[in-house]
Structures are given as C-alpha cells and as structure tokens.
Subunit: 359 residues, 2 copies
C-alpha cells in the first residue's frame, strides 16, 4: 500500500452509508490495518511503505498464487454479502495453496472499488478477509486500493511455504492411482442457484457457496505425509479437475459416479428441480475441495491422513493407462463433461446477465 | 494460472480482431507463456499448476508489492497503446521495488479483460509486460485471467530481494539529510496532457508517460552502497513523496524550487500553456523517479553511486527539524502542495471523465 499509517483504528462517527469516495486511500487503508493482528517478527516492513519486506522461511520453497473476484462475473453484490466477498476472495487463494500442499503465510490485497460504495460495505469486505486470514494465520503484507469506474474487483495474491520435495503438483498421477475427493461436492453450485432464486431451502448449501472452507490443513497433511502423487483443487468443478490432472499426468480416468460424495442438501435441491445431481455436481464449480491421486503404495499413508480431523476423503475412481475420461454408472459409461471455460462461456452467456456468476 | 500448457507458441491464422471471448482461458495463457523466456532453475513449478513453487534466494529478504492499472482511472484505451498498458503496469511495480533497494525477481499477473477486446490488443499488452520483464530479468511465475463486464484491469504483484539490512524505507530520513531526486520530472504529466489533447509537440514527454523507465539499477546500487537514509518513488508526485518521507521520518522539509530538474520538453509544454512548470511538476504523478534522503556522512558514498551509469541525481532540498513542508523560491516560501488523493479526487472529478487519468 502506498501510504498507510500503521494500525490506525477505524474512524468513529462516520455514517455507514458514507461512500468510499469521501475517504483518502490512506484513510481506507487505515480501516483495513485496524482490523489486523500485530505483524509477525518475520515481517520486517509491513503495510505503509513502497513495498513490504519479509524474511523467508528457512529451508522451504515458496508457493505463490493470485486470484481475482470480479463483480458481475464471480459475484453479484445484490445477493452476496460483502463479508462473503472478502471471505471468498481469500478462500480461493488458500485453496490453491492447499492444492500444492503449502501452509499459507502472507497475502497482498488489491482492490478496485466503485467510488459510490458505502464505507460499511468496504469495512465488511475487509472483515471477511481479516477473519479468514486470522484463522489460517495469514498476514496481510500490503496491497493497493484504487477507484473503479465499473465493477468491484478484489484481487488477492497469497504466498505459502512447503518443503521443496513435498510440493504437490497436477502432474504426478500414474495409471492405477486411486482418485479421492475431500468433503462433499455440489453444495456451492446448489447454493448459488438458490441464492439467485432467493430460495430458502438450500440454506446450508448457500452458506457453503458464500463461505467456503479451503482445505488448508488437509493439503499440508497430505504433503507432509507424502500421501499423494498429485493434487488439485475443485474451483472449476470436479470434472475439470480430473481432466486437468489426467492431462498434466498423461493418463486417463474412470470416475465411479455412484461414489461421488454429493452434499445431501445439494442432492435434494437438484432433484427437486429435475436435474441430475451427479451431472450438476460434476460440472458445478466453487467447491473448494481437493482432488487427490493416491498410488497403491501410498494407501497406508493416506489412511493415516484420513484419520486426522478435518480430512474426510472418498475414493471416487481410478487413473488409467487408457487416455479416455469416463464417467461410469454401474455398467453404463459416458464421457466426462467439459469443465467451465471462462472466456468462451462468458461470451455465450452475454444474453443472460449473471450467467457466469460464481465462477 | 489455473490451466496452462507450458510455453505454447501463439496460435497462427487467427485474425487480429478476434475477440478474447473466442478463446479459452488456457489458450490465452498460452499466448502469454509463448512470449516468455525459459523459466529459471529456481522456478520449481511455473505457470500451469494451482500455484507456482519457487526457491527463495539465499540470505536475502523478500520485497513484495502489488499495483493495479484500471481502464478509465489510470489509462484510456483510446490513446494508450496496449503495449504501453502492459509496460506501465509492470513498471509501477518495479519502481516500488527500486524504492526499497530491491532487485526484482518474479511477478504474478492478474487481468480482468472485457470479452470483446481484440486478441491482438491482448497480445500487445502481454508483449509490453514480457519485454520490460526480460530487460530486468523478472520471471512471470503465474497469474489469473478473468472476464470483466467493465474496464480492463491489469494487476501485477512483483517480488524482489534485498539484503536484510540494506532495505530502504521511507522512515529513515533525519533533519539535515539532503533531498535528492533521480532523472528529471514533469515529463509524464506533460505527456499525459499532450496525449489527451492529441498534441504532437511534447512527444518525448509522451514517450516518458507511456513507457516510463523504473530506476531499478539506481535502487539496487543505493541499497548496496548504503548511500541513502530513506527512499521512495514518485508515482504520486514529488510533493507527495517529500510529504510521505517527511511524515514517516518525523521531520520537515525545505524544497529548493529552482533546483528541481524539470524535463525541458515538459517545461516548454507547461510554459506554452501558461502553467507554472515547478508547480505542475511537483503535483504531477507518474514520474517513476526516486526521492532519496542522504545523510551528511553518506555524501561520499552517494558520489560513488552518482558516478555509476543510469543514476543521475540532483540535490533539491533538505530535511529539517522543523516539521513544516516548504517550497522555497529565492527568498519566497510557500507551503508544499497536496499530493494526489485517489478517492477524494476521483469523486471531485466525476463530472470530468478521465480527469483522474494517469494516476
């Protein structure tokens, strides 16, 4: 951030509806830093100079990722609470780090903000980021605030660490490796649909769309135990993740549709709308779960991981020598559906505003 | 980037006017990676996985910064060539690293792109980034591409390294330290005005606005020689930089207006328009020069630095015990003008679209 006094508490006596345009960049930065814990000793220079200076962690490789949430593409301010916008922006990055087996360490925040946005909304976004960051001990090292003549954009860069040889990539899966997925899937897609229709029934799914829990601990434990040959997160859907890992690893895959752990509320939601829950869950994005490839020799290590808290894993298929990508339901095989294609899909959705929401 | 094949050359046979919406995110990423040199050995995992994995540089602290260029705020696509958009987005970050004395190392790129943007424009932005990156040996480690329903946003995070005790901050200036500035100032502000009015005369100034040269080498040399007590870049103007360093350091400043090295083309431009060149140069932003504080004992070290190529430094004033910020012209003192205030100024400029251009 270009000009922040360190840790200035939020100003008092400002009406919630005051637009951010009534503040200087410096004052807005102060409203963020006032929500942060004291910086750790390894942060030699924090927010408030031209750049941050940090001490790297000893004998660790660094893992870096950046992800942006754009209003009208990834969320709609009409039905996404500002706290959820902040939460999801950081969660997407933490999920990427988890997929590499990295423990998160710090983040940089860049926001382009419509000048008319009420400052209370700005504060709530900062709260959403600060709370999730505190829970995972991620320290905000700096950032940039600018005005936007269009949508709100929340862009976060996150950096984590992992032992050099323990980083999990997409490329390590081999034919014969089992495919596992963490948690349950489909809830985010169902939650998004429910939110759009202002429908109450799928409220647990709505919460999972708005406040996804990145699998930070699972990623770290998988890496430490060297229990996985490949790993990827499901931000663009399960079908997409299987396709990406298979392509990067030079293998095919057979997915056992009946084994896919679909969130019960999501299953009920899709069935009530006459949709195929498996297909909806496969194609839907925003489940911040992990896809994990596990070699035959690693099953015992995985059992140790699976026993640890917060790491529910379900075997859903196998990577194969044959390069095809197949969804198997009993004796019936179908090709894996395509994943979400950001640019093409958006163009097709132009006639249906918000059609690309949630991706 | 979520899904990139490594180093895929740009596709052939695509008309330049094809919109980016006709491509997948993966194809667009391939058009960027095809413009990059091979990744260095320290980049253990580059573009194409959930996140990048890099080996930190030994016995160095890391310096991190993020900066965004937003269409309609920082540039206007009508008169900013796409190559300049890419160049300026990276230059702003490299300038921040230089101000800390850090040697740049890697960058992450996040873009929100209007789907109708011609792919040739996308390619030219990537070229602008890739060329400046190659010149300063900055390696692109990853990024994110998404669609924008509004303006083009180019957000870059850059990371550099510096020896722990050599990092230059804003807070080290003391009363009695001389104030130096690198290069000449005012050209970017004049160039921007000329561009807006489609005026040819100030063409060297236009080039300096479009393709600023961040003072990477100077920053590194200042840090290595421990020649400065404080340093900051001039992205928000010289007046702002003096104010920020003075506030962070707890001192005041007297600026000798007649010593300020104003770019000759800029001086001619401002004078032809009846404007005071000193005031215009002080208040104008986008000069990616460095403000440097130099203690009395460091003057000899600075002389060594000033002799090295690419490091023209001019003494323009002194930091003082007295906390006032003064512009001195001969015997006449005036208060330092205010710097650019992103949010307030934008609100005031709402009736004049593009009024905040260049900041």
């Amino acid at each position: 951030m270009t000009s922040a006094p360190p840790r200035q508490p939020p100003a008092v006596g400002v009406p919630n509806s005051t637009p951010v345009a009534a503040f200087t960049e410096r004052e807005l930065i102060g409203r963020i830093t006032g929500r942060l814990p004291p910086p750790p000793a390894w942060m030699l220079v924090g927010i408030g100079d031209d750049a941050a200076v940090v001490e790297p962690e000893r004998s660790r490789a660094e893992v870096l990722t950046v992800d942006a949430l754009v209003e009208g593409v990834h969320f709609d301010r009409a039905f996404t609470p500002p706290g959820a916008i902040g939460h999801r922006a950081l969660a997407a990055n933490l999920s990427d780090l988890a997929a590499m087996g990295a423990a998160p360490r710090l983040a940089l925040l860049s926001m382009a903000i419509p000048p008319g946005m009420p400052v209370a909304e700005f504060d709530a976004i900062a709260d959403g980021i600060a709370r999730l960051a505190a829970r995972h001990r991620v320290h905000l090292a700096g950032g940039n605030l600018t005005s936007s003549p269009g949508p709100l954009v929340v862009d976060i860069t996150a950096i984590g660490t992992v032992k050099r040889r323990q980083a999990l990539t997409r490329a390590g899966a081999r034919a014969g490796d089992d495919i596992y997925v963490s948690g349950t899937i489909g809830a985010a897609a169902a939650g998004l649909q429910a939110l759009r229709r202002a429908a109450a029934p799928a409220s647990s799914a709505v919460a999972r769309f708005l406040y996804p829990e990145p699998r930070v601990r699972l990623g770290v434990v998988l890496a430490r135990n060297r229990a996985a040959t490949a790993c990827m997160d499901l931000s663009d859907g399960l079908a997409d993740a299987i396709r990406q890992v298979a392509e990067a690893s030079g293998v095919g895959a057979i997915l056992d549709a009946e084994a896919v752990p679909i969130d019960p509320a999501a299953r009920a939601w899709f069935e009530s709308r006459g949709a195929d829950p498996v297909h909806a869950a496969l194609a839907g994005g925003d489940d911040y779960e992990l896809l994990v490839a596990v070699g035959p020799r690693l099953r015992r290590r995985l059992a140790a991981v699976a026993g640890s808290p917060g790491a529910p894993l379900t075997r859903i298929g196998v990577f194969t020598e044959e390069r095809a990508l197949i969804v198997r339901r009993g004796a019936h095989d179908t090709p894996m559906p395509e994943g979400y294609q950001h640019f093409r899909r958006l163009a097709e959705d132009e006639t249906a505003p918000g059609g690309a929401e949630g991706r």
